[in-house]
């Protein structure tokens, strides 16, 4: 076995370039003759666009051209990639999303015009000289007001209600009936706060056009260049794939926000041809705040019906989900298929009904953000369970255990369509109790009390669904894309390997983890394998990276392709060893004939494939390169249990996180260190959501937290050292690696732990009326709760 195969905590090879300033990001791309685009954006949330006067701007120094909505009248709008059908069988309302505003502006940040100039400063000067005549209209920000007859965001669709989704509609009557007779019902109303993704690297797009060949190239900060090529090429600009290359080089974090096709990408691609020069756009941070798709923003009422012993009988929820002003690429799927299907959590609740109203408002579009739908599901479920435990006087851990799906009940069919293939929720809870030293809590609490601090403990479970699939199912659910992944494994003549993957790495460590898998399969050192990703010109059509899918789906495609390689290599080896290929075994990079000492090494077989002097040419093609597409048969279901301890300052309401422990079941693990890092990052974001982050709009649609002066990102001293464990492993039963996905778990599982802990601290301190505080649990909110 190679020492750097599956299970090794190999250091991330990509970090060498990232940490030494040698990363190659989109903004590092500067093409000869490059011009610069600066957007003129709406400063009002809602308005009738009367006239855009570009005459002064067009004559300013360095200006090549000023574009407005009229320039894009003939091209398509930015498409939505998922069509949800509502509870009446009606498809969602899908308003057009033009590249540049036409007739109306719908949120602060909506693109109105663009100046392309020789330098960025010239473009910015001219952008200020574009005169925009707008009749401001009343903005609609509150979702309930929006559906209750508020001003229309899109006049032509006649409603702000995008869809009214019921899931599972057939369960509704039985669910309601169960509530009628239940011994106890717990109700909780809550807000899942709107978040700004804040990837460290702002979005950038560079368009290039080669007139002599008609070739377009778009360099962009994307998590899925093939998807952008398809969406933009086919639906917006009408450029066939063979004439359009999309490159997403090093990408400095995405968290979902770089999945989507944005108007700026279409703009630079289009404009590069018009001005016949490369066109570059780099977002300023303040622009990122008002143009990157936001996350979450749900308002929910959840009810849990139980028998007298706390067994869950039924669950129903009513959620308003903010879509913002336009449908971002995958927005409709987030509060529906990525949310409703997870409402069973880790529990056996026989009846579940989820209602989601998706609403248009005059705000930045909302779409998938780390966890996408699953954090919203987990938060409300784990909060209502905590509240129920308190109401029933049952220990919150015991109440959860009483309702767990048991280890012998897998595969488990939930009442919300999905089938959990495997899991062991008792085991992760047991592990959590051990690693979080819950037995020592009372002592620590007494210690905190000595210092005048209120200590609380929050525990919760989570389950999530990764590697969303299979394609034929998601197609039925409204996806306008397949959700397979691809890999080409190219073995070179001297035995080194290059894997061209459709997955995309923007912080996940693919360049390290993927080679570990191949190293393990073949028995060669991991450093003889390189990963190529992010360029449609040299990778097979793939769907990119999001939803913690890379290893489970992209890795599986790579395993499939590698298996084809091994099968072929065995035939070559059989020929060289004059044996039957059925007798060839591959171990530690060596092919041998079973039961003999005859063997040939990996390198010799590869050389024979490309220098086929002694080779069965009549029955076997030369070369050693295989491509595979993998379409999973089910989601994977990572699950776990989290615990958080906090101290609340009773005088100020300030919350300090004292400890955070996570026991996750991710199935098999390829690189434990990378998994630790993914969980750390996820928990950090979850703590950010729970305590700090919030995109707040005023009633006029101005983003009040539009910069780091008001939008609080978690910093190193806001978070504790984490205790993470992933030794509880129930491998996924349906992918070849038995892996589940770990990229979002931390962000999904951690917010309820934090809020449960703060409510616990206040309850223990006698604030018995405090049953809930909405995130972020800022000092002022916690203090206000204590005054009630």
């Amino acid at each position: 076995m190679p020492k750097d195969g599956i299970g090794a905590s190999t250091k991330r090879r990509e970090d060498i370039r990232f940490l030494t300033g040698n990363g190659h990001y989109t903004d590092d791309i500067n093409l000869r003759g490059q011009t610069y685009a600066v957007f003129v954006r709406s400063q009002v949330a809602h308005g009738k666009l009367n006239k855009v006067d570009t005459s002064t701007a067009a004559g300013m120094p360095g200006v090549l051209r000023v574009f407005t909505g009229e320039d894009f009248a003939a091209v398509g709008g930015v498409p939505c990639g998922w069509q949800v059908t509502d509870k009446h069988g009606k498809v969602m309302l899908e308003p057009k999303h033009p590249v540049l505003a036409q007739g109306k502006v719908r949120y602060v940040g909506d693109a109105i015009a663009v100046v392309v100039a020789e330098t960025e400063a010239q473009a910015r000067d001219a952008a200020e000289a574009v005169v925009v005549d707008i009749d401001e209209l009343p903005a609609v920000i509150d979702m309930k007001a929006a559906v209750a007859g508020g001003p229309l965001v899109h006049d032509e669709i006649g409603s702000n209600l995008c869809y009214d989704w019921g899931f599972v509609e057939e369960n509704k009557a039985a669910t309601d009936a169960a509530f009628e007779t239940a011994a106890h019902v717990t109700t909780l109303e809550l807000v899942n706060n709107r978040l700004v993704p804040n990837a460290m690297e702002p979005r950038v797009a560079v368009g290039d056009y080669e007139r002599s060949t008609g070739q377009h190239t778009l360099y962009t900060t994307s998590q899925n260049p093939h998807v952008i090529r398809l969406l933009m090429g086919a639906f917006v600009l009408g450029i066939p794939e063979q004439k359009l290359r999309v490159v997403a080089p090093d990408v400095g974090g995405g968290f979902g926000s770089k999945i989507f096709h944005y108007v700026e990408e279409a703009f630079v691609t289009f404009a590069a041809k018009v001005v016949n020069r490369p066109v570059k756009w780099t977002a300023q941070r303040s622009e990122s705040f008002i143009t990157d798709a936001h996350g979450r923003d749900h308002v929910t009422k959840i009810q849990l019906a139980m028998d007298k012993d706390g067994h869950f009988l039924a669950l129903r929820t009513d959620t308003y989900a903010n879509m913002g002003a336009y449908l971002s690429t995958f927005a409709p799927s987030v509060p529906t298929w990525l949310h409703g299907t997870l409402m069973a959590g880790n529990y056996k609740t026989p009846l579940i009904y989820v209602n989601v109203k998706a609403v248009f408002t005059n705000t930045v579009p909302v779409d998938a953000y780390r966890g996408a739908g699953r954090p919203e599901a987990t938060y409300q479920l784990e909060r209502v369970i905590d509240k129920a435990a308190r109401e029933l006087g049952i220990d919150p851990i015991e109440l959860r255990r009483r309702n767990f799906v048991q280890p012998n009940e897998f595969p488990y069919q939930t009442p919300v369509a999905v089938v959990y293939d495997t899991g062991n929720y008792q085991a992760t809870m047991d592990k959590l109790i051990e690693i979080a030293d819950l037995a020592g809590f009372d002592k620590r609490r007494a210690e905190s009390a000595k210092h005048g601090k209120l200590r609380g403990l929050g525990v919760n479970c989570y389950i999530e669904a990764c590697g969303i699939a299979p394609s034929h199912l998601v197609g039925q659910l409204g996806a306008r894309a397949g959700l397979y992944e691809s890999a080409t494994v190219r073995v070179n003549a001297t035995g080194g390997i290059v894997v061209m993957t459709g997955s995309h790495s923007h912080g996940q460590g693919h360049e390290t983890a993927f080679p570990q898998v191949i190293a393990d399969m073949i028995g060669i050192p991991a450093d003889s394998v390189e990963i190529v990703h992010g360029d449609t010109a040299n990778t097979p059509m793939g769907m990119g990276t999001y939803g913690s899918r890379s290893l489970a789906v992209g890795g599986s495609a790579m395993v499939k392709a590698t298996n084809k390689i091994i099968a072929k290599a065995k035939k070559i080896a059989a020929h060289l060893l004059e044996a039957s290929d059925a007798d060839i075994e591959l171990k530690d990079g060596k092919f041998s004939v079973a039961g003999t000492d005859k063997s040939v090494d990996w390198g010799s077989v590869c050389l024979a494939a490309y220098v086929p002097h002694n080779y069965p040419l009549e029955s076997l093609e030369p070369g050693l390169e295989e491509t595979a597409f993998y379409d999973p048969s089910n989601f994977t279901y990572p699950a776990g249990a989290y615990a958080c301890e906090v101290e609340v300052d009773p005088d100020t309401g300030k919350v300090k996180i004292c400890s955070f422990a996570a026991a996750d079941d991710f199935g098999n693990i390829v690189n434990p260190m990378i998994v630790d890092g993914q969980v750390h990052g996820g928990i950090g974001q979850g703590i950010g959501q729970a305590l700090l982050e919030s995109a707040v709009y005023d009633e006029n649609g101005q983003l009040l937290s539009g910069s780091y002066m008001d939008y609080a990102m978690p910093r190193a001293d806001d978070v504790p050292f984490y205790t993470v464990d992933h030794s509880c492993q129930t491998p996924c039963t349906h992918n070849p690696l038995g892996v589940k996905g770990c990229g979002e778990a931390g962000a999904i599982g951690s917010p309820p732990a934090v809020v449960n802990a703060v409510v616990d601290a206040l309850q223990r301190a006698g604030h018995t009326s405090v049953t809930h505080i909405d995130m972020p649990l800022s000092p002022s909110r916690v203090w206000a709760a204590m005054q009630a």
Partner: protein, 261 residues
């Protein structure tokens, strides 16, 4: 940023001359001004950097025992060099992050008079004197509301003279995002009485909490301010906290500052 002319004089006299130009503006550490320029919210024609002027940098003690800090002295230098006034050194060490402290200056902070800035509370509570190229201004006359001071256009803060109290302490409760003061309270006990200055809280900028001063002058203990409630009138209410919350924090932090003295 808009284009501007950049000047870097070596003496105060040259700086004064340079600032006499049309639409000239002083540049201290740039920690407030540069972000403002980058957002195109300011458009000076000439930017006069005060960074090269040695005569407005440094820390010393004058004959009256006051700690004198040059207007161009960085927060980091004060944190390190104001040992004679530990509460002031601690305040400077708690501003922003190392990058901000290594560039930002006391003169820039006071000229800017951000309602959430830390220094104004120390200056007001200490009864310090702000020295400019033309005059001396008592702290009580200097702060005139949010982002407003007694400075005339082109006037340069050359020094700040702090009487050193017997006891003093600054309590800063950070705004979670900016980490400026959501509320900051500086308590200074002198022979002839106690001064309490509050920053971060008021729409009028830094102010003295006279009720607390009276109570503490009579009895310098946390207990003396325990029941005292600051008025919520004219306090800032924003997404980080309402006026009542800020009023409450003023009381809490004053008590803590006294306890920490």
């Amino acid at each position: 940023m808009y284009a501007f002319e950049f000047k870097r004089p070596a003496t105060l006299a040259e700086a004064v001359t340079a600032l006499g130009a049309e639409e000239a503006q002083a540049l201290g550490g740039g920690q407030t001004l540069i972000p403002t320029l980058k957002q195109r919210l300011a458009a000076p024609a000439v930017l006069v950097s005060l960074n090269g002027i040695a005569e407005i940098k440094g820390i010393c003690t004058d004959d009256a025992g006051r700690l004198c800090i040059g207007g161009g002295t960085t927060h980091a230098a004060v944190a390190k060099g104001a040992g004679a006034y530990p509460a002031l050194a601690a305040l400077a060490g708690g501003i922003g992050d190392p990058a901000v402290r290594n560039r930002g200056t006391i003169g820039g902070s006071l000229a800017n008079n951000d309602p959430s800035a830390c220094y104004p509370s120390a200056v007001l509570a200490s009864g310090a004197t702000i020295v400019t190229n033309t005059r001396q201004i008592a702290a009580d006359d200097y702060f005139q509301g949010m982002f407003t001071t007694a400075l005339e256009p082109g006037e340069i803060i050359t020094e700040v003279r702090f009487p050193v109290p017997m006891k003093a302490n600054y309590q800063k409760f950070v705004q979670p995002a900016s980490r400026f003061a959501l509320v900051g309270v500086f308590v200074a006990q002198f022979k002839d009485g106690v001064r309490v200055a509050v920053t971060g809280a008021s729409t009028g900028g830094v102010f003295r909490w006279t009720e607390a001063e009276r109570a503490l002058s009579a009895n310098f203990s946390a207990a003396a301010v325990k029941g005292l409630k600051a008025s919520a009138d004219d306090l800032i209410a924003d997404i980080h906290g309402g006026a009542d919350y800020r009023a409450h924090l003023i009381g809490v932090l004053t008590g803590r500052a006294v306890a920490a003295c």
